[in-house]
Amino acid sequence: MNSLQQKKMMLTSLVLCGLVLALAAPAIHRVARGAAGYVLALYPFVAAIVLAVAGQKVVAGQAMREALPWASELGLSLSFSLDGLSLLFGLMISGIGVLVLIYAGGYLKGHPQLGRFYAYLLLFMASMLGLVLADNLLALFVFWEGTSISSYLLIGFNHRSETARKAALQALLVTGGGGLALLGGLILLGIVGGHWEISALTAQGDVIRAHALYDPILVLVLVGAFTKSAQFPFHFWLPNAMEAPTPVSAYLHSATMVKAGIYLLARLSPTLGGTEMWTGALTLFGGATMIVGGVLALLQTDIKRLLAYSTISALGTLTLLLGIGTTAAIQAFAVFLLAHALYKGALFMVAGTLDHETGTRDLEKMGGLRRVMPITAAMAILAAVSLAGVGPLFSFIGKELLFEAVLHSENSRTLLVATALLSGAFFVAAATIVAVKPFFGALKATPKAAHEAPPSLWLGPVVLAPLGLILGIFPGFVTYSLLSPAIAAILGRAEPLKLSLWHGFNPALALSGASLALGLLAYASWPALRRTQRGREALLGFGPARWYEVGLFALNRVASLQTRLLQNGYLRAYVMTIIVTTTALAGYTLITREGLPALLTRPLQEWDVRFYEAALAALIVLAAYAAVRADSRLAALAALGVVGYGVSLIYLFFGAPDLAMTQVLVDTLTVILFVLVFYHLPKFASLSGKFARVRDAAIAVCGGALMTTLVLVTNTVTLTEPISGYFLENSLPKGYGRNIVNVILVDFRALDTLGEITVLSLAGIGVFALLKLRPQGEKA
């Protein structure tokens, strides 16, 4: 392979390397031991560098694209592309990935299944990179599901805990259900747009938005995105997912995976966005999520759950901004996205460190830790200030832009401004709780005596939290190289972006101040707020989480009921079910298609019968009837022989001597076979009652009537031209045979025959095995 080709497959190999590395991770862990985290972190590190270098071209306006044929008949090709949006996400994924892998090495040090943990984490990492780089809708979906599955494995990593298992299942069912909806949406999108490549679909935006299927596409895609990104009313799985080890929470459930839904919305924004429905749905659900997440965050005492709810609120903000969709809103989106990843990643790592060092996650039980954990405390406070969005920090810029965006939105401006203000206040309050409660005040006794964490645990916060400060002061580092291209990709056009901390005295600044004041007020009343906990629990009892539980319970009940009903172990019940279902379905179709009168009069239409033929048909049925009524096995067998020979005569009368001959021979062998087998079997016994017999007879007659009708109908329907003409014409010239049936068997359709004699062989060997197999205790 020359260097050019290597370059072409760069993104593909980036993703695939991660998957391979995931498989190798346990082995690497065994060899490298404590250093494994650092070793494995090389993968995201290299990925980040590769993306950053490749990003230079993207910034210059050249999108990268590469494709591998996969199943081209299905429109499935493994195609990747790198544009501004994927670059932003890809760098976040790989950059934070480096820190998380190192953090995980310290956090789970000595855990017996750490190797497996690395494997899951790398699997996730590769899937997530694939997701944001994928250009094909179906490939995107595959990676989308990959993140769901690895998230399931990671949440349930502590599989001995029942709550962890439940939370993992909940996350899987909610995001997996959404994934199904998304698949439907993406397929419709591909059909309507006529392309499976997102890059090609972008140009089709106007066609798709005007199409009749636009509404279902949008609804299905939104369900997928909302479940993944924990939007109200699907938000409940995210706090429960905090059962996962903290590196997972920091990585999947704040910085990356939950943003996959946001990414998808941003990615499809040029294709689907801009309509009233898009704006309405995104602002409505985004706004609701902002408020719900913010309120619930303040009611938590578990630091991870508090952060999780504030993440939900942040995800709502991002959705809202995409919904507004103006240039200002998208600029705010990009800044907010990056800022949030930086501070929330840091805060989660701090939360994990606190848990690790003190043995508790309860904010009430911690206090005064700033003296024993100075580094962690400093980083936590810096990140919390970021969360609050005050001071010379990057997130402050984001918050200002958010207020700008809602102030200049076209519809329901008042409501949006109020929502933004309130959620801003909640952010401030949550940030104050996180910064003050564990670190200030008197030092409280914790389950473990706290002391400063090892470097691997504070490395992440030390990188991420100050980055928020540096970017706040020098936003120019990222505006041109990272944010502008992303914004251009979402908007579909390039817009100048200038970021600065100070915008002068304007309404946005006033709103910032108001939210700060409100937030501090909320913090002051936090103890009072939490006393309403009981009321909140009653309120939540009827919330979406309850619907999920009821749904799950009902599903299990239905499943066990129908299993007991259908899989009851009675062979005849199975036969009955099959006959009744088939008769009902086929009968319904026949009656609706053909009409009942036509079906009933059909037998009278054609009546070209010769006497001996009719007599033969009657003989066959009578013989079969005799087999049914026979008292002894031998009589039944004789009757069965008559049926077979009768059928062979019919073949003979209607131009099939080959069939007649085969039938006679097989019939003979069958009778011999039955004599030999029946000899070992018991005599006939009447086991069923009268009612059962009448019922079975009725069902059997229904089945028979259906078959009669089917034969009558097929004789008058020609769906396609019969292909026999080809065989008749070409048998001699191409097959050199005059017996056309034989030519079909050994030449035209020889592969079928080969399959059939293979089945024959298997049946023969199977019979032999059954005969030779001796149960224990039985003599030969």
């Binding site: 011999i672 029946f678 050994v746 020889a750 592969l751 062989s761 049946a763 023969g764 032999f768």
Partner: protein, 163 residues
């Protein structure tokens, strides 16, 4: 249950039946017959023989175990499809050659014939593989076999197999 008449008749019939089965196989391409019918006739011949004599004699007459027929037959059918690949055609496409001695022989021979031979052998092998062991089991309890034909009617007693 050996019977003199059946035994004698079978000894005479046996070669004829086998010859007939091969005849069916050979002419199958142009007239009624073919591998399936031929294989069944051959199988029926051996089964008849095993009824007249006994299974071990039949096995000796067969010379090979039935599973060998199955294996060789399948192999024959599979190999008959291979020449097509040499000519860059789909697997199992027919390929014909001609053996000609002017005035005497004019035979067209093609891969479908070998395929049919494969079918013949598989059918023969499978039928015997199923029936011969069953007959052996029946022979083991030949005393009870006589009761089978005079089964009393409608009795509710079930006779478990005495094994």
């Amino acid at each position: 249950m050996t019977s003199l008449i059946l035994g004698t008749a079978t000894r005479l019939l046996m070669p004829l039946l086998l010859l007939f089965s091969i005849f069916l196989l050979l002419r199958g391409h142009n007239e009624p017959g073919g591998g399936f019918a031929g294989g069944l006739v051959a199988a029926a011949a051996f089964v008849l023989y095993s009824i007249a004599a006994d299974v071990s004699t039949t096995r000796r007459a067969l010379r090979f175990e039935p599973q060998n027929f199955i294996g060789v037959g399948l192999l024959c059918a599979i190999i008959s499809g291979l020449p097509a690949l040499l000519f860059d055609k789909p697997y199992l496409s027919s390929w014909w050659g001609q053996i000609k001695v002017s005035g005497f022989i004019d035979i067209k021979l093609g891969t479908p014939f070998f395929f049919d031979v494969g079918v013949y052998l598989v059918v023969l092998g499978v039928a015997l593989k199923i029936l011969l062991p069953l007959e052996e089991q029946a022979e083991l309890q030949s005393e009870d076999a006589r009761d089978f034909s005079v089964e009393e009617q409608g009795s509710s007693g079930r006779n478990l197999e005495p094994s």
